[in-house]
Symmetry: C2
Subunit: 204 residues, 2 copies
DNA sequence: CTAAAATATGAATGATTACTCATATTTTAA
DNA sequence: TTAAAATATGAGTAATCATTCATATTTTAG
């Protein structure tokens, strides 16, 4: 008897019609979150933007939180996928080169929809119910890479290292994007983060 | 005719009595924000906790945002003060030693009331009206230190360097505190951040 | 002592919003 | 063809909350 979470989908859409409804709702939700912000994110507004009655929304999402949950899942999947792509066939590269790959991938991932990503992130840290899966998945990729190169690494504590690296990259990029710094476009940021992390990781 | 901000205090408390009221309100506000979170942060609840009528609250704060504004100002002052204390009489130290001082100060600053600090931080990035003064003040201290040691530094772009250093330290500490990692207590975090930043800054 | 100024009160207002439910329409499958 | 299942509708409900205002109490100053 697994107690179902509040945010469990209310019912599975079976027909094409309802599938389209769910997609429209999710798109509208993302749009309102990014364009109008969390304060304007009301279930009625989402339904309206989706061109769907408020009742229909509640057919598939038992409450507002479930909507955010669903968006977070989508976001996590995209992140995970991007990380995968950039972290395969990497055996022949130096650590510094791989770090550059990672930084580049992270910039790409965050550039896609930074505001949505940020809002979801804040909700995750507020709500225990949300999937921190997004990070932990990506962090697992990082961890396995670091394990493979363990002999070339300066830090001893692998968990701490994963924390330092992932958190540093994530926050620098996130902030740079939201602040619209020029260092993103110019490539300076990528270079500096790469140097910061490489110097920290590699045995001198 | 400077258009007054919404968050301008409604009236200045002149008597001791009203001074006490304002302080009680601010204390209650901080308490509710940290203990119950932003969702439970209602003006009526703050007034109740302060032992004051809702009307009195609105005598001194024209709206809810003004309350957050006032808290943010208090917080900024404390941060600024702590940074000052830890960054004086530093001329005879190496860069690595100073970085350690900074990291230690930052840990102390954030440990004081991490949740309050985080909530205010999030509001600042959401609202344009809020004082980003907190960071910029501390960043100025950092900038002037880096300027003094410019010849020993590897990075060329000072603004970018300030961004990298302040943002990295801030986010690593914030996250470590909120995640309750054991690396804080053990001192490992302080050592690792210091190494990360020092390696990045100092000419090899 | 007294009137004006400062301060405090809290019920009431109006607006917002998450969510429900009774009913209507559409699709499926037999 | 038809009944059941799936899907859609949106006015309505109840709760919450920021803010106001008319009134009451306290303090100050002359």
């Amino acid at each position: 008897m697994t107690p179902k979470l509040d945010s469990t989908p209310r019912k599975q859409p079976k027909q094409d019609r309802s599938q389209a409804t769910v997609e429209a709702i999710l798109m509208a939700a993302a749009h309102i979150l990014t364009e109008l912000g969390l304060d304007s994110f009301t279930t009625n507004r989402v339904a309206e933007r989706a061109g769907v009655s408020i009742g229909s929304l509640y057919q598939y999402f038992p409450n507002k939180k479930a909507l955010l949950f669903a968006l977070a899942q989508q976001d996590a999947e995209k992140m995970q996928q991007l990380a995968q792509e950039h972290l395969t066939n990497v055996e022949h590269l130096t650590i510094a080169q791989v770090v550059q790959q990672i930084v580049r991938a992270a910039i790409a991932a965050h550039s896609a929809n930074p505001r949505l990503h940020q809002v979801l992130h804040e909700q995750i840290s507020r709500d225990q119910v949300m999937p921190a899966a997004a990070e932990s998945q990506v962090e697992n990729l990082l961890r396995s890479f670091l394990e493979q190169r363990r002999d070339q690494l300066k830090p001893e504590n692998l968990d701490l290292t994963v924390f330092m690296v992932s958190r540093t990259i994530e926050s620098l990029i996130q902030r740079a994007i939201l602040d619209r710094t020029p260092w993103l476009e110019s490539g300076e940021l990528e270079a500096e983060i790469t140097r910061l992390i490489s110097g920290y990781l590699v045995k001198s």
